[in-house]
Chain length 181, copies 2
DNA sequence: GTCTATATGCAGATAGAC
DNA sequence: GTCTATCTGCATATAGAC
């Protein structure tokens, strides 16, 4: 993929993550990406919706990678999920509660308003769930962990505190641990 | 509270729930509320942000009531939470995945962009958590249930399927049940 | 209390020069 | 590939009549 295009995508991902899809203007994306203004419609001829969809796909791959990395750093699945969740808590706090995955905003705002972006978000979430399931050996459980992570990220952002994520880390740990036997 | 004002608030809540805060225009709220156009700035002189904040507070009270009602319909807390979650799953499906609480969108979109709306959302979430804690007898556990519900609503909406909520219902049931002993 | 008219600005998008 | 200029439309908000 072209470098300028990649810059636009990454800037869009950051902005969607911080403030959402509808609150982000194309001018803002251009500015934030340090990309020549004339490039946007050259690389994304179908406009904002295309940017949204490609951002979701790209984000899904990035996050899945990080999930795999994070989960590989502990012996037992329960402990791995706990550590991953605590890492997210730190990341969210250090970003002043603007981090937490570009997907959540994009997915929530377009669930019933853009079929194209929605399809991309579903695919991205599926990838994330697969990454979790690889380690947990249970797709349903992976779905529940994903659910919990998204909910906890949302509440942590709203409450301007990583506590929701830290609590989630402990509950998930206890739950998965109990299952291991 | 004045009736016209109440109509505006309820229309705003529905629209924010379906499509989000930034995607909803004031004209749309007027149209959907069947309220005279000149009334909006009469009742909400501080504009859209005031509407957002008051909507969040109102929604928080409504949802807390429904949580209390829902949780009172079973003998044991574990079963009560399960039934509440399944009820939400049905509601979300029957709304074509546009329902799921006016708060989520509002809260996510404004977490770092409007202190006023953010404060209102926090208060609303606190009320909801209190309503859960009353029945569960454990504020941390109530927070975890809230986290799970919000995450599951998000994923159900994105995936256009109530499965995430139904799975969450079973996991929460198992978890709370195990604690009862 | 509610109306119409309007101010002002930015949104997404397009055309055509270079 | 990138530029500038511009179109169209809607956004929030305000003023002043009734």
């Amino acid at each position: 993929m072209n470098l300028a295009k990649q810059h636009i995508l990454e800037a869009a991902a950051r902005l969607f993550e911080r403030q959402g899809y509808h609150a982000t203007g194309l001018n803002e994306i251009i500015r934030e990406s340090n990309t020549p203004k004339g490039s946007l419609y050259y690389y994304f001829p179908e406009g904002k919706e295309q940017i949204g969809a490609e951002t979701a796909l790209w984000a899904g791959e990035q996050i899945s990678k990080r999930i795999r990395e994070g989960l590989s750093q502990a012996e037992q699945p329960a402990q791995a999920v706990r550590m991953l969740t605590l890492r997210i808590a730190n990341a969210v706090e250090q970003s002043n509660f603007s981090a937490g995955g570009p997907l959540m905003m994009l997915a929530a705002e377009t669930a019933t308003r853009s079929e194209r972006i929605n399809a991309a978000c579903r695919k991205a979430y599926r990838q994330m769930q697969d990454a979790l399931a690889e380690r947990l050996g249970d797709d349903n459980l992976a779905g529940f962990v994903l659910t919990t992570l998204e909910g906890a990220i949302l509440l942590s952002r709203v409450q301007h505190s990583g506590d929701a994520l830290r609590h989630a880390a402990e509950y998930l740990y206890t739950y998965i641990k109990a299952r291991e036997r």
